[in-house]
Symmetry: C2
Subunit: 365 residues, 2 copies
């Protein structure tokens, strides 16, 4: 199942695997895909630098990439303390009352209160790019459209490819006009930040919009070899997968999260602004249901909403209760029913894709 | 691109085409697909009988089918006059005020006031089945799950296959347990009544749930040969297409509707309960936007909502204003950019699918 994307990225299988976990990223790259590290969780650039140094070692020369989150519209900037003042008291009250009602205990004495995620501030995302460019990364992906022109220029100077996610064909066309090399067409069914158009419709639309010269990766709903083959049928040159790796041995998951992911069906997700302030698909549970109730407040814009719920996220995750864990995940979660090593997941995916491709070849008239 | 579905239905291409238009249905069947006539608009069974007699002639011996709408839960029954009393005055006021605000004129003196659609009453849908079974139909499909057991038994006695739409794998399993022969896995991106799970995730889930013996048709997001090939990659034995035929020469469309459909992009649809009382994907416009406003009332349950808006639908359609036409359509509407004969659409679809299948066969490792 080689496509020209394999040559361009120096990989064996046209599978790009996104994960916030460096263990998962290293395993994907070692298994012949391109592991891409989600950087949004690193409020401190020095910590990212350490992790990338570890990755340089662990990927054993196989290529890897990073994913940053730079919103296309400049968001409110500031240090956490200033931003905190913009959060209405009513929202804070709702969060506290909801945690109480859900039976979520306060943070233990051992827990460091988790700071809100600042990685979606331009300044912080820029520090991620600066650090990444000091490492041998093959790809910088931006979750929210094209990075600023000088970032693209810096990447290109160092021979690093730039990818950007798009949920609409017109956005994809804009990304390419801005100098992006690879477009990730991310459908409605994807986990995390996502648009309204489903992969079946979006992928060929984006492929046609950007033209032959720009490889498109299909993201959203991909977790099996049949789905990889479907993505290639739609004109994608490869796939971008995120959710599936949450169910691997390498992903160091809280037991409650793992239990929730293994149990969830494809209908157990919801697209909501409560995680970050922008629409993102999450595991549906008692926490997301609370925010869907009639009396619930309207979520705040990015980055305030995540600052509002940051401590709550830690408490929910540490509660040990699988019915409240806060987690971005796609509809493919319905297929995650056992914990396996990354290499096994990838090998099975590739085998099923090859089998499907040869089955399809025989159907050609 | 023949699959065993072709043998089972006696057709040349594994493409089932749904349309409320008998002209479209006849053209699909003559071109080697299976045309399926949507019956919900026939409040009078005698009228359906006449149309099927016309189809018997026009399909020239090629097979065709019918589609009825029997909700799996028995809805409120009654004649239109009784049901009318269940509609709150506030809802009627909202409809009138909205039409006024949108500049939609009252019905012309020539217009017969359109009765609400009663085809989703069990009693009316049953009359459709009775009429259909007097004609040489090859397939009876039900839009809202399995028909009652005696309907399935009657169909099977006459050698007629029964199909049912499913938006979730567990529903599909239930359909098969009830005796349904073919499952239509309908993804979120589809037009009309639709669930939350997108085709990329739903189709393989349904295929695995019902097992080898039950053919699955992929519905939702299918409008090109690449999408047909993707559906086959996901394990479907064929496709079910509805929206695409709205853009054909044979579909006798009001000019305003045609203009709206040709202009719409894939992002110009919305999933809402305002058309029938159940979630259905519609063309998004000033009419659907009015119902999304904060002050808008909550739509009524089926069948009351359609009775509420039936006259409004006629007025909106007759207004000649493309920004208000009420129309169920899928996200594939973004691909409908010119009006062509059904036979050309189908021929191009099959050619592109064959080309895609042979391209994929060459990628197999």
């Amino acid at each position: 199942m080689r496509t020209e994307l394999c040559e361009r990225l120096g990989i064996e299988h046209p599978v790009v695997g996104f994960s916030p976990s460096e263990q998962v990223v290293a395993a994907i790259s070692r298994a012949g895909g391109l592991g891409v590290l989600g950087c949004v969780r690193f409020n401190d650039a020095a910590e990212l630098d350490e992790v990338l140094t570890w990755l340089d070692d662990q990927t054993q020369g196989f290529p890897y990439g990073v994913d940053v989150v730079m919103p296309s519209h400049e968001p409110a900037e500031g240090v956490a303390a200033d931003l905190d003042r913009l959060i209405p008291a009513g929202h804070r009250d709702f969060v506290e009352r909801t945690l109480l009602r859900l039976g979520v205990p306060p943070l233990g004495v051992d827990s460091a209160q988790r700071a809100g995620v600042l990685g979606w501030l331009h300044s912080v995302a820029r520090s991620h790019v600066e650090v990444a460019l000091r490492h041998p990364v093959r790809l910088i992906a931006n979750a929210l459209g094209p990075p600023p022109p000088d970032v693209i220029a810096q990447a290109h100077e160092r021979g690093v490819l730039v990818a950007a996610l798009a949920g609409r064909a017109d956005h994809a066309r804009g990304h390419v006009a801005s100098g992006v090399d690879i477009v990730v067409a991310q459908g409605y069914e994807a986990g995390g930040h996502t648009g309204e158009i489903a992969s079946m419709v979006l992928v060929p639309e984006v492929v046609d919009a950007v033209g032959e010269g720009v490889p498109v990766l299909a993201a959203g709903g991909i977790g099996s070899g049949r789905q990889v083959a479907a993505a290639l049928a739609l004109g994608a040159r490869g796939v971008w997968m995120g959710s599936v790796w949450l169910g691997t041995t390498e992903y160091r998951s809280a037991p409650a999260l793992r239990e929730a992911l293994l149990k969830a069906r494809s209908s157990d997700t919801v697209r909501s602004r409560i995680y970050s302030g922008k629409p993102a698909r999450l595991l549906r549970n008692r926490w997301t249901d609370a925010w869907s109730a009639e009396q619930a407040p309207v979520p705040l814009p990015m980055p305030l909403q995540n600052l509002l719920v940051a401590e709550a996220h830690t408490r929910l995750m540490e509660s040990g209760d699988p019915t409240v864990v806060p987690m971005p995940v796609g509809q493919i979660v319905g297929r995650m029913n056992e914990v396996r090593p990354v290499a096994d997941v990838l090998a099975e995916l590739v085998a099923e894709a090859d089998e499907t491709l040869s089955r399809l070849g025989k159907l050609a008239g």
